[in-house]
């Protein structure tokens, strides 16, 4: 049977892409810093591409790693990583307490609602202010933080424990969840972040747990706790387990959200709403009379369950390595999870040093958020706050933080994002940004190209800044031809074309 090669097949076969890149890197060549897109041919779905053992040279591996652990590789990052070496750089990224984010956090503190109580947020005249400011703070941190890997992981957990910010009362509660659940445990152990999330008023109201009672248990949170937060949909639980877990969790609730936050929005265990009979979840008997401790027992069991270890490992590998990550890597990470009680840092160390990671260049496309932030980072754009116009671009691309309404979090596979309108929105943002047409953003492209005397220079300087390396000759020639007509006039479009090019879409 002959088969048309769809773009979706391309991403499945991108193992070949990486392998070919690797081959190119092994050949003695003066052009090793160039990326090339090899000709792809369809392969039978069942035959996974073999992993080359040694894949990238040191410099290519460094760039590959930095792309994956950040929201965009700036020249400063690259220079610093080169000077201290990749291993030391990864360790530094795993120690965000050593970074100086003082100026950034001072700007973030201008978002007054972040430090308000839920009641204060609730009483604000501007209904949307808590929403706008949490989104603004998040984008600001992703854009400017020195702790890039921390921000990438904060985004990972934000999606894993997804909460839709526009759902009431999450609007006034999510900022606490962001601070006390996600950011407090971003580099922590899984049991800790799971427990924090299960005690989070934002989560308990988002998934209707807060109103679940003995008389009428609501199974929404219990289901998603198993399906999305811990075991995964194929994790071996039954409908009976969901119903029993819903009974275990009756009474897990929050204060304040049912009235006008006369009480602060805090976790509370409502004894009178709790079903205190005996239950059984995944074979674990929760004896009668345990009250809140019964829920804590089940959470601990779920946090250390082998299926949870595998599910979290798969998602982590999907985030950092490939949409369909290699089973060998998942198995390694699952072991680390089990050995370390799900220590995020240890899993990241193993992942980033694995052969599977090294062989995965070109296998992940940037999602819109990563595309958007990286364009701002590499161009050295200046933004004072996050004007509405800026988030509007992100909205068009479909990835404003906290705006995914189902509990799954934003999809992490290319198929979802590689659409015609998605492609067009990327080009448009690139061209509007470099054309100085994005409201509230200032950009000095001339300052980036002061030493460039020829069209070749302009294209190379910008490519190296935006991509970390020169464009391949065929793409470079197109841009040089265009720039040569009038270096000054074409500068914004040359920059826009590089940001819009396929090379800038890859992580």
């Amino acid at each position: 049977m002959t088969k048309n090669l769809s773009r979706r097949d391309f991403f499945k076969t991108s193992g070949i892409f990486a392998a070919a890149t690797a081959l190119a890197a092994c050949q003695p060549s003066t052009e090793v810093t160039e990326q090339t897109f090899p000709t792809l041919a369809p392969v039978p779905d069942s035959s996974p591409a073999p992993l080359p053992a040694e894949t990238l040279d040191d410099e290519a591996l460094l760039r590959h790693t930095l792309k994956r652990i950040s929201f965009g590789v700036t020249p400063a990052m690259l220079a610093h990583a080169r000077s201290i070496g990749l291993d030391a750089y990864i360790e530094e990224q795993l120690s965000p307490e050593k970074h100086d984010n003082t100026a950034l956090e001072k700007d973030v503190s201008n978002f007054a609602t972040l430090s308000m109580t839920p009641k204060e947020r609730f009483e604000l005249e501007k209904y949307a202010q808590p929403i706008v400011e949490l989104i603004g703070a998040t984008l600001l941190r992703q854009w400017r933080s020195e702790s890039q890997l921390y921000e990438v992981m904060a985004d990972f957990w934000t999606n894993h424990f997804n909460i839709y910010l526009a759902k009431n009362p999450c609007r006034v509660l999510k900022a606490d969840d962001d601070r006390d659940v996600i950011r407090a445990h971003t580099f922590g152990k899984f049991a800790e972040i799971l427990s924090a999330s299960a005690h989070s008023p934002a989560m308990l109201t988002y998934l209707d747990q807060a109103t679940s009672t003995k008389r009428a248990p609501n199974e929404n949170y219990a289901r998603e706790l198993l399906e999305l937060h811990t075991l995964g949909v194929d994790g071996g639980y039954t409908h009976e387990d969901i119903l029993e877990l819903a009974r275990v969790l009756t009474g897990w609730s929050a204060t304040g959200f049912r009235d006008t936050f006369r009480e602060q929005g805090q976790f509370t265990f409502r004894v009178r709403a709790h079903d205190d009979g005996q239950k059984q979840v995944m074979g674990m008997v929760v004896p009668a009379g345990e009250r809140q401790a019964g829920g804590e027992m089940v959470l601990e069991m779920l946090a250390s369950h082998r299926m949870t270890a595998q599910f979290i490992s798969t998602k982590l590998a999907r985030r950092f390595v490939a949409d369909d990550p290699p089973a060998s890597l998942i198995s390694k990470l699952t072991q680390v999870f089990s050995d370390t009680e799900g220590d995020t840092k240890e899993m990241l160390r193993t992942l980033l040093k694995s052969d599977e990671f090294k062989a995965s260049a070109g296998q992940k496309i940037k999602r819109p958020l990563e595309f958007f932030i990286s364009a701002l980072r590499v161009t050295g754009a200046e933004i004072k706050r996050t004007p509405r116009a800026l988030t509007e671009h992100l909205r068009n691309m479909g990835q404003v933080p906290f705006s995914w309404s189902p509990p799954t979090g934003f999809p992490d596979y290319a198929d979802w994002w590689t659409t015609t309108s998605g492609m067009l929105n990327r080009w448009n943002f690139a061209l509007l940004l470099t054309g100085g047409m994005v409201q509230g953003v200032e950009l000095d492209l001339k300052a980036l190209t002061t030493d460039a005397a020829s069209a070749q220079d302009v294209v190379d300087v910008l490519s190296i800044r935006f991509l970390g390396e020169k464009l391949p000759d065929n793409a470079r020639d197109i841009l040089v031809d265009y720039a040569a007509a009038d270096l000054e006039k074409t500068l914004p479009e040359v920059a826009g074309l590089i940001l819009g090019s396929p090379h800038f879409q890859m992580r």
Partner: protein, 419 residues
Amino acid sequence: MKKQLSRRDFLKLSGMFGSIALAPSLGQAPRFSFAPQGIEPQGDMLVVVFLRGAIDALNAVVPHAESRYYDLRPELAIPEPKMDNDQTAIDLDGFFSLHPALRPLKDLWDEQSLAIVHAVGSPHETHSHFDAQDYMESGTPGTKLDSGWVGRHLQSAPWLNDSPFRAIGMGGVLQSAMRGTVPVTTLRSIADFHLQGRPKSLAEMQQNMASIYALGSPLDALAAETFSAVNTLSQVDVSNYTPEGGAEYPESDFANDMQQVAQIIKSDIEMEVACVDFGGWDTHNQQGVIDGTFATLLSQLATAISAFYRDLGSRAQKVTLVTMSEFGRRAYENGSGGTDHGHGGLMMLLGGNVNGGKIYTDWPGLAEENLYGPGDLAVTTDFRDVLSEVLLKRLANPNQHNVFPDYANWKDLGILRSG
């Protein structure tokens, strides 16, 4: 390796990017000809509306004559129909009635353009939104596939159609029902679907961007599809759209999507299928009765669909709209004024060739022994029966076995007229 000539290859060969026309001001709507002569697309244009989150079928189309309904839903039940009382259900056939927020659909029902299928759904037991949507959109309950039923329909239909608008995913989303080898154009806004940037450089920019995306990257095919869609849409006058038949679209994202689908249908750009999402139906909590969250959703649904149908005018003869949802909700209400995930649900069909004004159901009843699993309305009609009928009678695609593999013995309910 032998390879069929795809639209993408065709575009490359014909050097379409060499002659980019940016929104020429034509005096009249241009004629498009994407399909090679002699094998033009046959059948209706299909609009699939997916109600994501699982619509509460029992409160949308109410079995008011079954008293058990009122036992199961002491707080949430819709009062049984009473003449001249708009706070009660609207009687359809003496047994079933519409939620009053669906009032606009009653006219379509009376005109026999609207049919309802009740206790319909997937035989798979899952109560997970995400699994259930996957199975329903792939058209293969219990089996995960990389392709969707709409995608396989387009692939197996016995004609060619190279229009970039052959299949469109509204909301900028590629619905998984459309996955397959036939390219899909995703669209959020017709008016904004063009290259932006500094105006003077745009034509040149499009050409340069197209050149950069013709060098063998994994995104080249997608870029070609995008430019093709941009070029086609640039010739559609979007600024002066006036709906026909006095149709008034309400203010909502869903209505906006529906209006744009109508616009595309009327532009004659060879659309075959449009998928439209409408989310927010996961009403676990305080869903309301006559008013409230659920009623608001129903009202948005009914007003938008009704406006869409009026707007189509005589073209309605060549359009079939079908609504679906991953499952229904629990027959019992829960303690939070809402309903949990259930099983049997609802589909609606609207079009010029629908045998409407009728409910199609093998009603399982709501007695305890007839409920499914944890207390759900049972599924007595497989959603693939309904879609197979759409496929064969209205879409003129005889390859049912490709679209719904292992489901050859589908049941013809007679919801649609052939031809």
